[in-house]
């Protein structure tokens, strides 16, 4: 169980970095990129939790979040592009 604590702490450190860029990021594109990375880290955390507790129940969540992250990022990319300067 010490492994789960180490893994989740490391992922939380990474998430804090992405969250900082999401809040501070100078342009909208920075925020979109960091939101995409944050969702990747959420999938990573779900898989790490499943690995250490030996439960496969929440693995569907990883597939769904990965799919929603892609759809959201591509929609945001269209928005970044079409916005007036």
């Amino acid at each position: 169980m010490i492994g789960l604590a180490i893994a989740l702490s490391l992922i939380a450190v990474g998430g804090a970095g992405f969250l900082y860029r999401l809040l501070v990021g100078p342009s909208l594109a920075d925020r979109v990129v960091s939101l995409d990375g944050l969702l990747t880290l959420i999938v990573t955390a779900v898989l790490a939790w499943g690995a250490f507790t030996r439960t496969g129940t929440y693995l569907t969540l990883g597939v769904v979040v990965a799919l929603v992250a892609f759809l959201g990022t591509s929609a945001f990319a269209r928005f970044v592009e079409g916005r007036r300067r």
Partner: protein
Amino acid sequence: MMDVAAAVLVVAGAALAALSGIGQVRFADLFTRMHIATKPATLGLLLVAAGASLRIDSAGAATLLFLTVVLQFATGPVSAHLVGRAAHRHGDWDRRNAAVDQLAEVDEL
């Protein structure tokens, strides 16, 4: 033995996730941050999924892990390319940091 290998894989993947988050704070402009946001996080997801597939021994779990990794590897570069191209076209980046801009004559600015 299998459990030790799985723990090492999961912790290594989590360390890559931490690295990509630290890079978000440390790196200076949009395209380097995009580089550090996509590649180490995706590799970290692959390592964590490999560790999880060693720990959870059922065929359904292996299928879901495989699907997650394939989905992330297929969509990560595409979405990064979309955002990067949109940001370049819109001018949301610092031109002084670029040594060469090969999209300059493609995107009308």
